[in-house]
Assembly symmetry: C2
Homo-oligomer: 217 residues x 2
């Protein structure tokens, strides 16, 4: 049983980059066999069908990017500093799953892809947006962000600009769009600061250093 | 000859949405036969191979979105008004090719897609960015946009935010991300105005009406 679970986990981790690169339809059993080193029967002993394996692989991918994009976030104090950090992490840390951002891939795949993956992707996007919107909401409540700002809009703009820049960067194989979007979003975030607290807006670099120096805070 | 050319054009127009929806690898000859109403031989009499047909179909798709996204642009006076118009057109006009933005689809397809399509997509993106950057450059030269603004950065941010919002909108089947990005980009563009000309920045609605009233200007 224990060994079976380990094998299942290993198959999911090996299948995740394959599905992420080739999409649901484009992933062949041959590619899955090659990635896992198992025969077809060895793979499907652990999953009822391709859909179940694809869904587990997608959950795994989403979890990996969620970790890398929001790791340490709770340890940063200040809503603006947290939003700066979200942007910094996204633009500086490559996707840990080969094939780029799983959310973007699922979005493109969604018309002719699998409905279950589509639902999981929409859910992953919703959670990400809610997380960013909640940071903005907290910032407004604390008087750090202007009360005229709209948390949902802030979240949609940040996610759209980041995902779009990633798309451009991938297309042209250059980081320039990510850098351009990062600089502009950072300036824009600072402009959202409530005027009385604006001068004291902490810089994200300083915050990061503080987090590293005191990882238990 | 004339009839042959017409048939070729008809095949390209029918194949464009098929390739745009399913990608290069995912497009089957069966789907192309169904879309064109022709047999395999009837299609490939006009194209040396799948790659040539896919490239022509992609050029056709890019041309369609270029038209819809920048139509009438030259008739609008003022750089900021033109940039507002770019954003308005993108967020309000659906893709004329089924399957969404061909650039976005090609970007996702690029890892495992066709190198020729990839090159065409990168070229289409470059042209689009150059066009937007040129508008910003003209605005700076005319003293309408602040001289501290960076035309390439403006273009990258506009394209990234728009394409990213389209991705979110497609994933969630709601226009909200497009509206959120439009409002924010518009405010941001206004903030780029050179201070002395800022109060006179024309509103895009007024400009559009003017264009429609005087289509020959």
């Amino acid at each position: 049983m224990r060994k079976g679970e380990l094998t299942r986990e290993r198959i999911i981790a090996a299948a995740a980059p394959i599905f992420n690169q080739h999409g649901y339809e484009g992933t062949s059993i041959h590619a899955l066999m090659e990635a896992t080193g198992l025969e077809k029967g060895g793979i499907y002993r652990h999953f009822s069908n391709k859909e179940e394996l694809a869904a587990e692989a997608f959950r795994f991918s989403l979890n990996q990017i969620r970790k890398i994009r929001t790791d340490d976030l709770e340890q940063i104090s200040g809503s603006l500093a947290r939003l700066h950090y979200v942007i910094e992490r996204f633009t500086e840390t490559p996707s840990p799953i080969a094939g780029g951002c799983p959310l973007m891939n699922a979005a493109i795949d969604c018309d002719d892809g699998n409905p279950l993956i589509r639902d999981l992707a929409a859910q992953g996007l919703r959670q990400w947006r809610n997380r960013i919107a909640k940071i903005a909401e907290d910032g407004i409540a604390a008087g750090e962000i202007s009360s005229t700002a709209d948390p949902r809009r802030i979240a949609n703009v940040i996610i759209s600009a980041l995902e779009g820049a990633l798309m451009l960067a991938r297309m042209e194989r250059t980081r320039t769009p990510l850098c351009d979007v990062r600089v502009t979003l950072s300036d824009w975030l600072d402009s959202l600061g409530a005027s009385k607290t604006k001068p004291t807006t902490p810089r994200v670099r300083e915050k990061k250093r503080a987090v590293r120096a005191h990882p238990t805070t």
